[in-house]
Structures are given as C-alpha cells and as structure tokens.
Amino acid sequence: MASMRAIKRRIRSVAGTQQITKAMNLVAASKLQRAAAKLESARPFFRDFKILAENAISGTQSTSPYLKQRSGERLCVIVITGDRGLAGGYNVNVCKAAMALLDGKEGENVITVGVKGRDYFRRRRKRITRAYSGFSELPFYQDAQEIAMVALDLFDAGEVDEVHVAYTQFASTLSHIPTTQLLLPLKASTGSGLMEFEPGEEAFIEQLIPKHISTQVYGAMLESSACEQSARMAGMDSATKNSSDLISKLTLSYNRARQDAITQELTEIVSGANALD
C-alpha cells in the first residue's frame, strides 16, 4: 500500500489536471458557439456554390482543362487540421482520410492547414508543398483564396492531376465525419440541359474555377473549425469525468491507508500496555 503522503500528492496532482481540463472544456464550448455560428451563416454560400458549379458544368460543352479527367496518379491534397491537440481523434482522423487518398499514388503534394497536419505528414515523409497555420481556429475567406491560388497554380502547371480537400464535416456536436472532396477537375452532375453563359462559356469557367476552389476550401475550413472545438469539448469533458473517477478511487485508498495506520497505532499501544503489565 502506497504511503498516505504519496496518495495525497497524487490526488492533488489529478485535481490540478482536472481543473485544467474543465477550463479547456468551457473555453472550447464558447469557441464552438462562435465557430458554429460562422459556419451556419456561410453554409448557404458554399453549398449553393457547389450546386451552381455542377449545374454550369453539366450545361457546358467546353473543353477546358479544368473539366478534363487526367490520369489521376498525381494528387494534391489540402488537409485541414487544427493547430493544437487535445481534441480527441479530430486531427488524426482527417489525416488518415487524406493518407488513404494518397495510398498507392505516385505523385503527392500536400498542402496542410494547421500545425497538427503539418507534423503528421512531415513525420511520414510526404511532400508538403505549403504549410499554413494560425488561422484554422477562425478562418477567413482570404485565407481560403490564398490556398486556392497555390493549388490552382499546381494544377495549371500540370504538376498534379487532381486536387482534393480533406476535412472534417460537422454533422452535429457529437458526429464529425472525416471527408474528402474532389475539387479539380470538376465533375459534371448528370446533365439537366444546356445552359447559356454570360459573357461566354470560357470566360465564365475562367471565373468559376478559382472561386469554386476557394469557396469549397473555405467551407471545409469552417466545418473543420467547428469540429475541432466540439471534439475538444467532448474530449475534455470525458477527461474531466475520468479525473473525477480517479480522485474518488484515490480518496478511497487514502482513507483505507489512514484507517490502516490508525489500526496499527492502536495495536501498538495496546500491545505496549500489555507488555508493561
């Protein structure tokens, strides 16, 4: 049995940790509210943009390189993770989804958003084209535009055949789905008739493509940021519960140790008194 003093020290240290996890839980909860509100107000924009892009592509006969399937051997994956850990499986799950995409392909270009993604792919010796960090908690549209430019340049230069984005979809506070989405080349949804273009087909596609990528990346970043906070909230909540359990277990063994000590002392006194008689 551990000494009383050791147990007491242990209890104090667990209680300290619990205080931290509890605070992190509260912080994540308030950040989640902000992230979820931002996501909610932007969702119509990027969801409708996807529909608009698919409609436009299915109504076109353009032979633009952005619409043509290539061999699909060389990929560029934009991976969206958080800057910080302690968020359950949030960071790892999306990285795994991206890895599954890269599996068996010969060309790989990874653009990471968030420190955790960068570290993950660096450890696995993947080619990181660009690594962004610092804004995954509260992304701005301008950030997405910059990332889209980098990806588009790679595609334009013919260095990659496909551009994907890997992110975590925020289905609800409890359900986060690691997802990958193909951004380029744009796939047409099954045609619903021809469409006119103003000012012209090629000019429209020229405008559509960069906006399409930045919009979808922006959407992915917002979904992910809400997931990060909500995953951290859940993780810290269970950590707080675990430390409560641990503390009650430790308190029990502390009390037992104390009782043992008292019993032993009594025995010693009684046997000492008996010896005197």
């Binding site: 932007a42 119509p44 608009l52």
Partner: protein, 139 residues
C-alpha cells in the same frame, strides 16, 4: 403564376432567401432582367445594384462581382461582397471614394492601381445603393 425563388449569399451571410416576381441582375455585360420561366443561364456579375421586385415591394442590394445562375425558377447570386442599403455607411463609402481617387491620381505600381480601381468601383456602388429607400420585402 410561378414566382422566382431568389437566393443571395455571401461567405458572411445569407442576404436573401425567398420569393420574388422579378430580379434585375447587373452582369458583367449589362443588366439582365429575370422573370419566371427564364431560360437557364449562368453569368458573371458586375459591380452594381441588384434590383428585386416582390409585389409592391422593391429593394436593391449592392453586389460586388460574383456569379449568378438561373435554373428553372431558381435564381442564385453568390458574391464575395454584397450588402443591403441599410448596412452601408455612406460616410465610409465617400471616404473610400476619396482615398481611391487620390491613389489613382498618384499612379504607382500596377497592383496598387488595380486595387484602387476596385475600391473606387465598390465605393461608387455603395454610394448609389445607399441612397435607395429601405423597403425590405415582407416575408
């Protein structure tokens, strides 16, 4: 009589999601009036006022570029920046106009010129739209 289903969205928020009788889009090539039954079209938006006619209500939205699509009776306008007249600060727009004019007069590098021109156009649109009486379409 079928009505249009209009949606105007920006990355910041959904500006309009409802029905309308007529929409006039300021596309990059000029104004385009949309009535129910319009053919399918995708257009690049210009900088300007988008007009919405909904029964007796008429309203304007300042739209700065973006894309629009008419498909069936659904009209979707997606722009990086779009504002209601009530959200526009005329004082700030006029200040921006003045700044942009000064910068254009200086003639520095190309990038700066482009940016100054864009902000000049934005300011002009804002000033034009902000003078529009606020008649929000009833929902």
């Amino acid at each position: 009589m079928p009505r249009l289903r209009l949606k105007i969205a920006t990355p910041k928020k959904l500006l309009y999601d409802g029905e309308a009788d007529m929409v006039i889009l300021r596309t990059s090539t000029g104004d385009m009036g949309i009535l129910p039954g319009h053919h399918r079209v995708s257009a690049i938006m210009g900088y300007g006022a988008l007009k919405i006619v909904d029964g007796e209500n008429k309203s304007e939205v300042a739209v700065m570029g973006g894309l629009a699509q008419v498909s069936g009776d659904a009209v979707t306008v997606l722009s990086e920046v779009a504002e209601w007249p009530s959200e526009i600060s005329l004082i700030r727009a006029e200040a921006a106009l003045e700044r942009a004019r000064q910068r254009l007069a200086q003639k520095d590098s190309d990038v700066d010129m482009q940016r100054a021109e864009l902000s000049l156009r934005r300011a002009l649109v804002r000033i034009e739209v902000s003078s529009y009486p606020i008649i929000r379409p009833g929902k």
